[in-house]
């Protein structure tokens, strides 16, 4: 009783300011069965994603909104880009609180492992109903996200590679080259704790040297003076662009930007050590408790359409997820976006339960302690 009064008093003040603070939890029972509910062509779809899908340079979000709403006039899209990304939804699901979103655009393989390490196996997202997806078979080979529960489909992919200044260093042929004197104090990498490309590069070395050997390899990199900075933007715009160093862990699509900005191409050469690039496919998943799962499936299928694939590739500066015959890319994109001879990735099975330990051990040894 007293607690109510207290809460009421506190809320009174906040409500006066126009914030709706007390909400009633919905009655919708979380995910009983996988039958698709809702109307596939009408309703409002709330899409959660990351900032640069909406706000970066020439982002894909606005185009997707217009194109989807043109194709399905009774449907509309709302966007949300929460600060802590998918973690937010994992935590909301843990607390049984309302998710306030229907799909998540930008799920990585490691996200799936983290979901299953935290929630029950196969949690958070629906198993996608492939019968409702006409274009699921367009996805090209080698982009399987490896989820045993088939919760996500890739909508684009990037390749982590090295970007280097050919006037200063030669192209490194192998990972071992990076530990040679020719590359002393040459490489900038990112912190795998805080940065996506940083984590991808670490996983790439784990793929190459194994869970038993990667720390030794990193010791060699350290001895050769690798520099690990916080995240991609400050390591790139700060250190690399200020010519502190001639080589950085970055994306194989770097030249697309460099060409658009008339940059000197000699500073934007792409290297694929061991003839590999680390594939980071980005997936889309439909939340277990989506209010209109049928419309969400329509959206997933729409993302795989030729037009959407071409626009996403261009605006997100990533490679399409569908096979080449299903997408027409601008000449410049074909010319400047480099695909590695071989794409590698550490799959879901190996990431389950181990990713955190790998990163923590790696990070502990990288500190000066």
């Amino acid at each position: 009783m007293r607690r109510r009064t207290f809460v009421g008093a506190v809320m009174g003040g906040a409500l006066a300011g126009g914030a709706g603070c007390l909400t009633r939890d919905g009655d919708e029972s979380p995910g009983d069965g996988y039958e698709l509910t809702g109307n596939p062509e009408s309703g409002t779809l709330t899409v959660a994603t990351y900032d640069s899908m909406l706000d970066g340079n020439d982002p894909a979000g606005p185009w997707l909104t217009t194109a989807f709403e043109d194709a399905y006039p009774d449907a509309s899209i709302e966007w949300t880009a929460p600060e802590n990304g998918l973690n937010r939804f994992i935590q909301l699901e843990e607390q049984d609180a309302s998710l306030d979103a229907d799909v998540f655009l930008g799920v990585n393989v490691d996200d799936l492992a983290r979901i299953d390490d935290t929630l029950a196996e196969g949690g958070l997202f629906l198993e996608l109903d492939v019968d409702h997806l006409d274009r699921a078979d367009r996805i090209r080979d080698g982009l399987d996200m490896g989820d045993p529960h088939d919760r996500v489909l890739p909508f684009d992919t990037g390749y982590i590679s090295l970007v280097y200044d050919e006037t200063v260093v030669d192209e490194p042929e192998t990972f071992d080259d990076l530990t040679e004197p020719a590359y002393e104090d040459a490489l900038i990498a990112q912190n795998a704790q805080t940065s996506d490309p940083g984590q991808a590069f670490l996983l790439w070395t784990i793929d190459g040297y194994g869970a038993d050997g990667y720390l030794d390899y990193w010791d060699d990199l350290d001895a050769n003076g690798v520099r690990i900075l916080d995240d991609w933007s400050d390591s790139y715009y700060g250190s690399y662009m200020e010519e502190e160093r001639p080589m950085i862990v970055s994306y194989s699509t770097d030249q697309v930007f460099a060409a658009a900005e008339d940059q000197d191409m000699s500073r934007h050469q792409i290297a694929f050590p061991n003839d590999q690039g680390y594939a980071n496919p980005e997936g889309i998943g439909v939340f277990d408790r989506a209010s209109n799962a049928a419309l969400a499936h329509t959206f997933v299928d729409f993302l795989l359409s030729s037009d959407a694939q071409a626009e996403i590739a261009q605006r997100n500066v990533q490679f399409p997820a569908v096979a080449p015959e299903h997408v027409d890319l601008a000449d410049d994109f074909d010319r400047y976006a480099h695909e590695p001879p071989e794409a590698v990735t550490v799959g879901y099975d190996r990431l389950r339960g181990t990713l955190d330990g790998w990163i923590e051990e790696w990070a502990r040894e990288r500190t000066g302690l």
Binding site: L22, R24, L54, N57, T118, T194, R364
Partner: protein, 631 residues
Amino acid sequence: MSVPTSPQRRTRTALAAWLERHALTALALVTAGILAVMLYLPVAIVFVEAVVDRGSVTLASFAAVLSDPFYVGDLAGVLADPLAIPEHLAGFRDWLAAVSVSATVRRVPGIGLPVPWLAVDTPGVRFGLFGFTAYQAALSTVASLALGLPAAYVLARYDFRGRRTIRSLTILPFVLPGILVAIGFYATFGRTGTINSLLGLVGLGPYPFIEWNPLAIVIVAHAFYNAPLVARVTVAAWESVDVRRVETARSLGASRRRAFVDVVFPQLRPAILAGALLTFVFTFMTFPIVLALGGLELATVEVWIYDRVRQLALSEAATLAILETIVSLSLTYAYLRYESAQTGLSTGSAAPPRDPLFPDARSVLSPRRLAIVGYGLLALVVFVGPLASLVLGSFTDGSGFTLRHYEFLLERQIEGESFQTLPFRAIVNSLLFGLATLAVAVPMGVVVSVVTTRAGRGGTLVDTLAMLPLAVSGVVFGIGLLQGLVFGIPLPGGWRLQITGSVAIVAAHAVAAYPFVTRTVSPPLASLDPAVVESARALGASRYRALRDVELPLVASGIVAGAAFAFAISIGEFSSTVILATGGDAYTMPVAVERYLGRRSGPALAMGVVLLAVTAASFVVVDRVGGRFER
């Protein structure tokens, strides 16, 4: 002729009288309410994570952290078995015996300039993550004092064109997002940066300053953030030094120097120490700057907390956060005990007069003026360099001068969709939140000051608790807000208590800002002669009225300084804003900077420059308007 009072009017006067009598109590209750919901609740939610494991209380995660050499270094052995005191003492004695200190000469890399160096040779002691964090914080504090105090001296003692503007702008670094500062530092100190370009003109370099000694550059960056803070609190104290006491001392035969040491310095000391404490606590909890400039080898406790949070290992994150908070709160407590012991009596203030900085051309050559000019050059490099480089970066791309980053902002403003971040909206929000924060944080800070200054040792404890926002890491506060207020707290009957949006943002900003008001108001308030208040009370004034009409005017300069801080905190705040602004259009300028980052930084830099310009303009206004109330 007398006017008959209507019953209504009488009620209104009675109500007003009642309100006045209870105003202080009411304000204190509101303050406590805001703190409970916006501060103690979120922090408690996180801290509970550390000690509750599947419903039962346990200290296992503390034991794990405290016995891990990675975190606490060689203390781990001691903490793992605290009762084996004789062995620990013996171990310490052996260690001390093996320490040797020798004076050597080192050469500055690249130039070969020899400098005397005190080499301390210790037999491999490990300080752990906490030890390193404290070490870099201590160095950062020393650097901030070394750079901030001369600025305070010049600003307080000399008159020159633009003095007030510079004084207003000292707060500017405070509002800049870490990533902008990192990019600014690279553009200044980097291999192709401004300094190397200048050195190149005289045939030197290029030197990789940042790579030579990342720790030194991180410390300079921390000084960039915190020296202005030190300068600002010290100038405020200096300007309220009672010049009559200095004159008395001088007339009794004290030299200028003597008068400074015995009369002026003791009045500055609380402010200097407050600045040092704030710097230490801030840099103890630093995260983006160390990583961006120094990398993982300079990792701090906060880095680990952030990582644990990302991996959803909340109990370990919470444990680290509690330990971090204990360190900063104990420092705060120690400082506050000191501050209350320092209370002297002052009877109103007559500010010391300022000398013209350059009365004539020849005076420039006096040693004191030369030193000031030298300091000015140094300040130019440290403060103006990074800011100027940012501005430059926003006007250039790979091929030279361009306006297209600003075009981007304009285009986004005109054509942007409702779910996108609009620059003008961010500016308006920032200013509105800043003003609202002022309105909430200043009364909160003053109330906390009043409640604690006259309450003795108990007051110190309350005061320490009231300083909690400074001592809790941003990451932790963020999770607490998210889990407590944004996700909502389940209530009986299927209800959920959720607080988000503008009101929550202003409340969170006020909570982060009021300690600055308290810290700038408490020392002058404590040094007021209680007799002044007592006579007012004896003459029938309510406690509130005595505060409003007697005490506040006497500590006005402290309030104005605190208000400027409150505004700055609000403008620069990022983490709780971005958490509470979810899905709405309650974003601010720093949030817009981060959202524009994408894969090319131009637009983000342009937005950063807008942030700089708007903030600089508003500070000049705040200080000019505020200055009117100071005396």
